[in-house]
Symmetry: C2
Subunit: 337 residues, 2 copies
DNA sequence: TTTAGCACTCCACATGCCTAAGTGCTAACA
DNA sequence: TGTTAGCACTTAGGCATGTGGAGTGCTAAA
């Protein structure tokens, strides 16, 4: 029994199953692929693959389907990333070109990726770490309520309303604004805490509570804020493939809505050497995604923010991986300097 | 055959069907509700109701289910809006109190409403019309690319990146900023166009192209921008009730993702005198929602922006309407002055 | 106008049967 | 030792058939 042929058989099973949605038997296999041996031989190979836990039979006399482990092996060793079709390249280019602000770019990206892959697309908001503070603005909404706006040169705008901790007049707030602005304009967001401390030190005790509150809020804005949000598109694709999620797509939708879960999942995925990370079925830490796979990769500076798709374990990995990778590249280019 | 009893029968059918998910027959009806007459009498009433198109039988020997028209009559004339339970009131109050910026408020609102009703919740971004310009900011991203930020005193922040139409230095942009700021600060957003025209008139020809571009962008920001976005939560509730959407929830998800469709739908819904609008089944202009109902109402100034839920036609209208109305009220209060 | 009774209809479910697909095993073969 | 052919065996799934129950419409009587 030859090892290379066994892998070839696994590959054929994965490809056929992805294509037909039905367990694939030994006879069909030798017909569709010219493997040069008889079905009996294939049966032996299949038995071996089953012993290794790479494929399984839903019931006694059905064909075989790949297990999570089988998909993993397929993704890691057998499959070659398919190049995108020219039409797809064009679609990527044209759809992302006309966009305006960041929200718009991410929104379009998600839609595009979901169309390209026929799966659910998710795009995390990019990280700010390298950006520089361009401007800050305080707006008095009520005697104690202040709207804080932080503008970074990356084109990113963050805002929050806070309780100032003390009554403030317009004048006092203007003064604070001037101080803060002078102290932090041009500062990289990572360095913000230090500069804020300096500003704080220079404040008189009368404004102390407000200054502290503002400082904290700014720090929070710069640090986390929007990085823990994401954009989503193509959930309807889940329903279309209700054959793929026999139980129910409910748990999957729940996972998608719990952005915390998804973001955690995305950042925990180890980066694959080929640039695209894949998490298959029960490899996912979340139970609701036991029959789903996630294909994701980083984009932007440090590839720190993630873009990816979620679909049934039975998906066309090579094509999907190619699409995710290509979209991430375009996205990096557009958001880049 | 008494007219009041017929309505009573319709009400009983709607309530039982909503509760049990199964066609309701004459015998079960007289058992569950003490109507004081026999099942045969009820059968006569039912036949009449069916003639009027208010109920229908899925097949010859099944019970009856309400038609869209039946639900409509139920909602308009029979049902009384149920008061919320104290626990629900508390949930609304506590969940919305801790929130910070607008995005956060809307996000929480959607989640809350979806939990309260077990349906999909949608919340449109509020309109700006009454708000006043608090501040504007121009940030030079590249020689011709300018990030524009518009801050309104409602706590709303809008942003966009535009092509300035000419090369600009930092100084030139600062100058423009000062001019614009002086010209429009404190202006209600509705009045913005007039004030912008005045600013434009005062600009020298050298900055003309950029000034025009900026003016246009500001106007656009103030006018439409985010009002055509919405927040959504609870899509997983669709899957849970997959019994309710026998065909597939695909079309429904599609409609939800096409925000344009949903927003159009929401704004087209006539305001009910009781303060909550309901659109039932095929009354919806969108085919994918033929088996869905939308319950929505306005909030904020003029009740111009909408908040509502989407669910199967077979839903508990009284309770749902109460929840939507209550949430809208709280929302108005929080966003109000 | 309401009621009781009855024949009728149709769905849902269970049963049994049959076929197609596919397997595992054994024995022969190169 | 690896490959092949053949065969008995297993199972899902389609199909026809039968049955019980729920619910209706109609008629005639109260």
């Amino acid at each position: 029994m030859s090892e290379p042929r066994k892998l070839e058989v696994l590959r054929a099973i994965v490809e056929d199953y992805v294509h037909s949605r039905e367990p694939v038997g030994s006879k069909a296999l030798v017909e569709r692929h010219h493997l040069g041996v008889s079905s009996a031989t294939i049966r032996n190979d299949m038995a071996a693959l089953e012993d290794e836990g790479l494929i399984m039979a839903p019931h006694t006399s059905a064909g075989r389907i790949p297990t999570d482990k089988g998909y993993r092996l397929f993704v890691d060793q057998i499959s070659a990333v398919k190049p995108l079709s020219p039409a797809e390249r064009r679609a990527i280019q044209s759809l992302l070109e006309g966009s305006e602000d960041l929200d718009d770019v991410l929104d379009r990206t998600a839609r595009l990726l979901s169309q390209l892959t026929n799966q659910v697309a998710v795009v995390q908001y990019p990280h700010l770490s390298r950006a520089v503070v361009r401007h800050i603005e305080f707006v008095l909404l009520a005697p104690r309520k202040v709207l804080i706006v932080l503008i970074a040169d990356s084109g990113k705008v963050e805002q929050r309303v806070i309780d100032a901790g003390q009554e403030l007049g317009d004048d006092a707030l203007s003064d604070l604004r001037a101080r803060f602005l002078a102290g932090v304009a041009g500062t990289p967001l990572i360095m913000l805490p230090q500069h804020l401390a300096a500003v704080l030190a220079g404040c008189g005790p009368a404004q102390r509570p407000a200054a502290v509150a503002l400082s904290r809020a700014l720090e929070a804005l710069a640090h986390s804020s929007r990085e823990d949000r994401m954009v989503m598109a193509g959930t309807a694709n889940l329903a279309r493939s209700n054959v793929d999620f026999p139980l129910s797509i409910g748990p999957v939708l729940e996972a998608l809505e719990e952005q915390v879960v998804m973001l955690r999942l995305l950042s925990d995925m180890a980066q694959d050497p080929r640039g695209v990370a894949v998490s298959i079925g029960r490899e996912n830490p979340y139970d609701g995604l036991a029959e789903a796979s996630v294909v994701a990769t980083g984009y932007g500076p440090n590839a720190s923010a993630k873009v990816g798709i979620l679909g049934p374990t039975r998906m066309d990995y090579p094509t999907t991986m190619a699409a995710v990778r290509a979209v991430a590249r375009y996205l990096s280019r557009i958001l880049g300097p």
